[in-house]
Amino acid sequence: MCPTLNSKTLIQRFQVVAALFATLLIAVAQAAVPGVTSASGSFNLTAAPSYLTQPDGASIYSWGYGCVSGSTPSFAPAAISGANCPTMQIPGPTLIVKEGQSVTVNLTNNLPPAAGNTSILFPGFSVKSSGGTPGLLTQEAASGGSVTYTFTAMSPGTHAYYSGTQGDLQIEMGLYGSIIVLPSTPPANCSSGSSNDVAKVFNGETDFRLSTAAYNHGASCYDREYLFQFSEMDPLIHQQADAQKDLPCTRANGCMSIATEPYHPAYFLINGRSMPDLMDPNYAVQYPHQPYNGNPHMHPGELVLLRVVGTGRWQHPFHEHGNHVRILGRDGNLLLSQNDPTKLAGPLLFTTTTTPGTTLDGIFYWTGKGLNWDVYGHTAGDHSVCVPDANGYYTADPTAPNYYEWCQDHAKPLEAHPFGAVGSGGPVTLPDANILTNGAWYGGSPYLGPDATARAVGSTPIPPFGTVANSPSQEAGFAYMWHSHNEREITTNNAFPGGAMMMMLVDPRAFKINEAN
């Protein structure tokens, strides 16, 4: 009397298939913060229509910013190969500029005439516009026409840009993106080559950072960075636009009659994609108009800069499993203590709520501090070393496989009676593996890294069944779900799993995090 197929088991099968699918495509981890740069500060953008793919197979008519056909933008980080900038993408190209740089954005309106005018707002910057036609909030580009915006990139940090024309429709359709302003003078303590840099070089890892600090401040150093831009889509609005896109029109406000209320989003996006597509590589060929992914990886002890952007209509509570986030700044404004500007004043959050039009920069790390057991499964007498620094971590040897181990718990066993060669006499007995269901991102044991996992599983089969996305013999990282905690948003058009969700991997130093290939 085994269970027959029902909708629930189908969804679970979808989960497994989705996980397998994701695994096939992430043979090499990719992430970083890819975007376009310009030595002259000039970007030639277009607003254009195309169709987005969704994990449920839907093809959604959308509008997005892109690079003018034939333009030759530069790309960063340089180490990511295959970078491109199509004429339409969602989110729009991430504009990477330097503090103090004079920025010029030439926007050409290649939306269908029925959409009317379009424009871009750059909140937080003092923008001058030229050309185009007057609009409500800014100068606009008429259908087929163009407009130019110029501003000086004054404040470092992460910023949003989005349409200033019929925002309830045009932003919903996909006309938004991010601007990253890099600090002009990253502090010396950030750029002098930290011991995490030494470890990176020793392990043969490439540096994918756009800078070494988020702000001109010594407390904003980072070792890796990731961008998460949140939005949502109501397919009914897009269907109406699709049906009316060919209407003849010469009016500035377009000729479409689209009901944008009641609002009923079914797709919840991060960087224009949703789970599992979100974890596929940047610039993956199967998503020609959704080039950016969300697939964060990090090693223990690395300071990771999160650049989080809210877009669209709704707030999305972004929950980072694994640790708190120290907020550095909001909307590119560094938050410092009032009476000691050398110290940060932003809060510690485990859920960073995103609000449309608002950005935040924050620092996250994971070390395993305070668990009261050794995540590496070290045992007394195994010749492993952990000498605590002033903060309690093993940082003396950046080439060590346990670099940044929390030494207080070194060689402390977890299990009372382990199967294999990890310490015994610990506090817990693990249940019989036969009454457990393994997750696709389960590393195969409670421990971090292939070495500890191989020792820990002892007589049980290696790799344990079902751990397909985080190889017990190659990676054995610790996986954490980073997702919207409005939990219904981790669905794709009524199917779970999907939506605004990804898995973050804390990888052992033995696993080479390669953000390009």
Partner: protein, 507 residues
């Protein structure tokens, strides 16, 4: 109607189906050692061994309009006496390991004891063998089936405790088609291991008929919360949400001693490196910018003052504390969830807006609420009222968490200002030691957030014994119980001559 025997038959069949090849598959077990390396049982131990057992299954709750709502839910399998009294169910190992009389005597009341249900000497060992976590599954099923609580059993631990939390999956009797695993996600646990993080994709999940013991060293003090992480939009909406908070070391500072000196000793000189901040950008509690001279003293109840955080300046002191969890139920989703239909996520729309699993006026009904379940028996379904009793001239700490899965919710205080001292289980203080707490009349939380608000009634010229104030939502459409245009996210605040800090009784 499914009977229990029919359910057990289905359960057995399911277990055989899944595990026919395994001869060693174990069933329910608990783990609650009497000593550990960290807590050898000496007088010098910091913290203690704390244990709790919960069931994962289903149940029914009563909404404020009288309707009965189906839940996927956790229920208590230890600490039943305290849970029934509205207290956290977490026990010391000594209490947990005291057998619940119901285990050996079906006529006994399981809610008259705090001992673990089902814990008994292994009958396969010689008579007189000590308890080793062996569980008799019969009392566990008798107590645990259809015994879900909303919110789930409350947990409370102290810094330096080791916490052994056993989840026992008793199955969902109303949905025998679902072979659902359940997990515990301790939301906000810093530097969590993925193994004990409760995300089924990243770890292991416990099948029906099995137990899994989560192991946590108590994290830094704060108001956290917990929930199941299996299919979150479904299991959270259906009710698998609970509260957990961690009390600070500062509660152990001797009377009359300096709070600043105590925190400084931890941060700068402690032998335990976990307590030192160093250059940690995620340091939970920086020393105050300067010493304000605060010392530990007695509160309005005549007992040593308690604190929400290791503040070093007494800024988070309170006389009485109340865990409050905000949630919302969509009755259509719950009906679909009970009736074997595919569940729509896009259309999810909450119609019941709850504080601790109840809407007004049930929020001010004293004592545990019971609900008749599908077999006609009564079960304690919603143990927690939200009656905020504040002693005259005192302060109440509201430990507020939100696990709504569809929208943000706002809670306002009519009359008594709210002082927000903590956010997301962390003291509001910048890295230079300046207090960044703020005073407000309303707070807005997303699902997945928590904060600590102090209702400060210390001005006795304004707040007099016998006064009643209100906590309510200015999201006015949330002041309703489905079709009833009155109720929802609201409760009362009473100023009392005195308040018992444990029972929270007003006098």
């Amino acid at each position: 109607m499914l009977t229990l025997s029919r359910f057990l038959y289905l359960l057995t069949a399911a277990l055989l189906c899944f595990f026919a090849i395994s001869a060693e598959a174990q069933s329910f077990r608990v783990q609650c050692p009497t000593t550990t390396a960290l807590h050898p049982g000496l007088a010098t131990d910091a913290g203690a061994i704390k244990c709790q057992q919960i069931s994962g299954g289903d149940g029914f709750a009563t909404m404020a309009d009288g309707s009965q709502t189906y839940l996927f839910a956790f229920g208590p399998l230890s600490g039943l006496k305290d849970i029934k009294a509205g207290q956290p169910g977490t026990q010391t190992q000594a209490v947990f390991n005291t057998p619940n009389p119901f285990t050996s005597n079906p006529a006994a009341d399981p809610t008259a004891s705090n001992g673990a249900v089902g814990l008994t000497p292994d009958p396969n060992l010689p008579v007189g063998s000590p308890l080793d976590g062996h569980i008799d599954p019969r009392p566990v099923m008798d107590v645990g089936v259809m015994n879900g609580n909303m919110p789930a059993p409350t947990m409370a631990i102290d810094e330096d405790d080791e916490f052994f939390l056993t989840l026992t999956n008793v199955g969902m009797i109303m949905r025998p088609d679902l072979f659902e695993q359940h997990t515990v996600h301790f939301h906000g646990y810093p530097n969590a291991s993925s193994f004990y993080d409760g995300v089924p994709d990243a770890s292991v999940a416990i099948n029906i008929g099995g137990s899994f013991t989560y192991y946590y060293l108590a994290p830094d003090a704060g108001t956290y919360f917990w929930h199941c992480h299996i299919t979150p939009p479904e299991h959270l909406q259906m009710g698998m949400v609970g509260q957990i908070y961690v009390r600070p070391r500062q509660n152990r500072v001797p009377l009359g001693a300096s709070l600043y000196a105590a925190l400084a000793a931890h941060e700068q000189a402690s032998a335990d490196p976990r307590q030192r901040c160093g250059t940690d950008i995620l340091c939970p509690a920086n020393l105050p910018h300067s010493d304000n001279g605060a010392t530990r003293s007695n509160n309005k109840s005549g007992s040593p003052t308690l604190y929400a955080y290791n503040d070093g300046d007494g800024s988070t002191a309170y006389d009485v504390d109340y865990p409050i969890q905000i949630h919302g139920f969509d009755p259509s989703f719950h009906f679909v969830g009970m009736t074997f239909n595919p569940e729509p996520f896009t259309d999810m729309k909450d119609k019941y807006f709850m504080l601790n699993g109840r809407s007004y006026p049930d929020t001010v009904t004293a004592g545990p609420m019971q609900t008749q379940v599908a077999d006609g028996s009564m079960h304690f379904s919603q143990p927690l009222p939200t009656i905020i009793n504040i002693p005259l001239g005192g302060k109440a700490l509201l430990r507020i968490s939100d696990l709504d899965v569809t929208e943000f919710q706002t809670l306002a205080s009519l009359g008594i200002p709210m002082r927000i001292v903590g956010y997301n289980a962390r003291l509001l203080r910048d890295m230079a030691g300046n207090n960044t707490a703020y005073t407000t009349n309303s707070i807005t939380l997303a699902g997945g957030e928590s904060l600590d608000a102090i209702l400060d009634a210390s001005d006795t010229s304004k707040f007099k014994a016998g006064d009643t104030y209100y906590l309510y939502t200015p999201n006015l459409d949330h002041l309703a119980n489905d079709a009833e245009n009155f109720g929802g996210l609201m409760t009362e605040v009473h100023i009392c001559s005195s308040v018992d800090p444990t029972t929270k009784t007003c006098s």
